[in-house]
Symmetry: C2
């Protein structure tokens, strides 16, 4: 019997369709497209093939030279432009504004073959430290109301280059899905006088069946109403709405959690394509409300891109997931 499950934050129902149940092999066997081999502008030595860097960690001095560990550069084909005016305009019933914003790329390693599943914990820490640094820097620009940190890995997940990288898009608006989550969490808080994410952590730790990894400061689990097979969420145990408050100790713990989760996804699903998105409170003070500190809770959502079954899903927000999150968690743990 299939099951309908409701996400407690935004009230989205999903179908867990056991009739279509699958094993990890069914996903991993899928023929994999190879990204074009050959020249890579992100590799060490090709620093002049990217726009000039915004930030880097490297031994010795210099800019846009070799010997770096991590680099941040503007996206060569930015979705948003640094110029322009942030003001809503109207044509009849429609509203628009200039596509003002920032679009940066974090090149996570000088080595082409490195990725989250085979990096050292220290290398992953450096990525998270860089997320924090760039977040804090972009937050100073009052025009930018939301800072979105995410990764596309693998061609099927929208990556156009295979060299390990993340992206940051800073926008003058708060994305819809983020607002929904903020409002959902506030509604839950008003009803229950507690944070829905904190309550999830408590319940997941008690039930255990959806746990993937329990580190000192973070909990990784497959969410109860998973939209996709092997969807994994990582929640900080310390309640805070704001990613940028992450401490050095927490960065270490998150790096450990990343290493476990991405190594396991890699081995269970044979190097699957995936997206992850860091969900945090809006960057601009003007989008915060007084209780946001209590009712929201930043976190990371990881979405392996395994199914094409997801045909009409984006059109309806109604997902059919052929794998029980409890089964996915067991595969990832064992």
């Amino acid at each position: 019997m299939p099951e309908l499950r409701k996400d407690p934050i935004i009230g989205r129902w999903v179908i867990i369709a056991t009739e279509r149940a699958k094993r990890p092999d069914d996903f991993s066997k899928a023929e994999k497209k190879q990204l074009k081999k050959g020249f890579c502008p992100f590799c060490e030595g090709n620093e002049d093939k990217t726009p000039p860097e915004i930030y880097a960690v490297r031994k010795g001095g210099g800019k846009n030279t070799s010997n770096w560990k991590i680099r941040v550069v503007p996206n060569k084909f930015p979705a948003l432009s640094p110029e322009g005016e942030v003001r809503k305009k109207e044509i009849g019933i429609y509203q628009y504004m200039d596509g003002v914003g920032k679009h940066e790329v974090i090149i996570e390693s000088p080595k082409h073959y490195k990725s989250l599943h085979n990096m050292t914990k220290r290398e992953i820490e450096l990525i998270i430290e860089t997320y924090k640094k760039r977040y804090l820097a972009l937050k100073l620009d009052e025009k930018l109301r939301y800072i979105l940190i995410f990764k596309n890995y693998g061609e099927e997940a929208g990556a156009s280059l295979s060299h390990s990288h993340s992206q940051i898009i800073a926008t003058p608006i708060v994305p819809k899905r983020v607002s929904e989550e903020l409002y959902g969490a506030r509604y839950y808080f008003n009803e229950n006088r507690s944070c829905v994410f904190c309550d999830m952590i408590k319940q997941e730790k008690r039930h255990k069946e959806r746990l993937v990894f329990d580190s000192e400061h973070f909990l990784a689990f497959t969410p109860y109403a998973s939209r996709f097979p092997f969807e994994v969420w990582i929640l900080p145990k310390r309640h805070t709405a704001f990613f940028e408050t992450i401490t050095q100790e927490e960065i270490k713990s998150l790096s450990k959690t990343f290493k476990f989760v991405f190594s396991r996804l890699h081995s269970v699903l044979n190097d699957p394509p995936y997206n992850y998105i860091l969900h945090t409170a809006p960057a601009s003070m003007s989008d915060k409300w007084p209780t946001m500190e209590y009712d929201y809770h930043w976190h990371i959502e990881i979405i392996p891109k395994l199914t094409k079954v997801a045909g009409f899903e984006w059109g309806t927000g109604f997902y059919i997931n052929p794998m029980k999150p409890e089964d996915a968690a067991r595969y990832l743990r064992e």
Copy 2:
């Protein structure tokens, strides 16, 4: 300069990223995966290879025999089950219910090579008539609160068989995206005392630049805040929230519109994969509010599946569209 555009119904912002602008050829050249050839359970003569039919149009008598024009059968791998109990249950903070519902497949032609772009108008009319018949039949079941009619065409769009077919999923809940649209339309109505969809029709007819096809009873256009390249919406000109009120004359006009739109998509984009979804008011009286008749307006959304750029989009509801809807409409018209 990229542009941020807001959908007037649900308030979703999209980025129209002109820096990444493309021509139709850039999409159509993409290597196409072929669905497995060989035996097809939907072809005429193989009626015993599907579950027994629920409805069919055929010459002469008989059931599950040859000589049919259209057949409706239960999905062999249903996402929802006809059995079970519609009652919310709880585990801690989570809610769930039995996956009760109906999942039907409409086999649109006895011939394997037929599809919307090469069918006759009469053949397409028969499909729409069948949508209406099945809608009215499923609506009688009070357990089913929403009836979702959609099509996945091509493997990239989630179709597992290439023989032309649509699907109907009738669910005990109203999908999230549908509720959002209902509430968005109600909000607009309360603010403006007019239907947002009717106002779109007026403005699109006046501006013309996004028009694709203008038939007697339907208007096809690329929406102002298109999420995807070549996204097309088809709106009935007569205001009504309820698809099932479609008249025979309107069916003829919709068939003509379908024929134009799908022939054009086929030739401009070289047989692209796509999804379409029929958006209509909830089937169950208990989900209707007194003003729904005035504030909602049924329609069809067509989403060609051309981009993988759409990496993080589902996670954020924030879409980056590399093609201006005005350009897409021009390609489709000319």
